[in-house]
Point group: C2
Chain length 110, copies 2
């Protein structure tokens, strides 16, 4: 399994996920692709504002975009999502946290 990803991609992916609005867009796109206008409409954003979110998500490679006529469709690209999840997975594992508490650690230093 390949885990190493260029750091700047993870930077952009995590940063992009740091907005509830954009996470909402990702949720929307998890059901089906949508056009820029449809998203702008759903999230009550002007086209220029949505455009900026789209570009951010695109640079983070969280979505892919394809133009059809005058309409721009975007779809989720689950690979960056996977990379982000895997990065976290290195340090968090579902099967529990049996590490010492900070308190114990400090006590152990004395």
């Amino acid at each position: 399994m390949e885990t190493k990803v260029k750091s700047s991609h993870l930077d952009k992916a995590f940063a992009a996920l740091g907005s509830a609005k954009r996470r909402g867009m990702i949720e929307t796109l998890s059901y089906r692709p949508a056009s820029v206008s449809q998203l702008a409409d759903e999230f009550n954003l002007s086209l220029p504002a949505m455009h900026k979110h789209i570009r951010l998500l695109e640079k983070a490679q969280l979505i892919e975009r394809r133009k059809a006529g005058r309409t721009n469709f975007v779809a989720l690209d689950r690979q960056s999502l996977a990379s982000a999840q895997q990065w976290i997975g290195q340090f968090y594992t579902e099967w529990g946290d049996n590490r010492e508490t900070l308190e114990n650690y400090i006590a152990s230093l004395k």
Copy 2:
């Protein structure tokens, strides 16, 4: 399984993870707790600069802090990491992505 988390916490956690430096700090803390000075030293940052990162990570609840004498120790708090991972898990599943491509979707609209 409880998935719902106050949106602003996820906002802060993901935003905090959107920096390679801070992800490095999290990796360091995944081995053992450390003091603010130790981290500043390891990451070649001034104390005020490190202080800001610490506060960000703390507000995102990615770390906990405890003062012992004049030294401030911080340790990973894996719960926010878990929340972030779970959020992503809703939309990305390891067992594959058999969804249609954007291209196919667009074709299907005609």
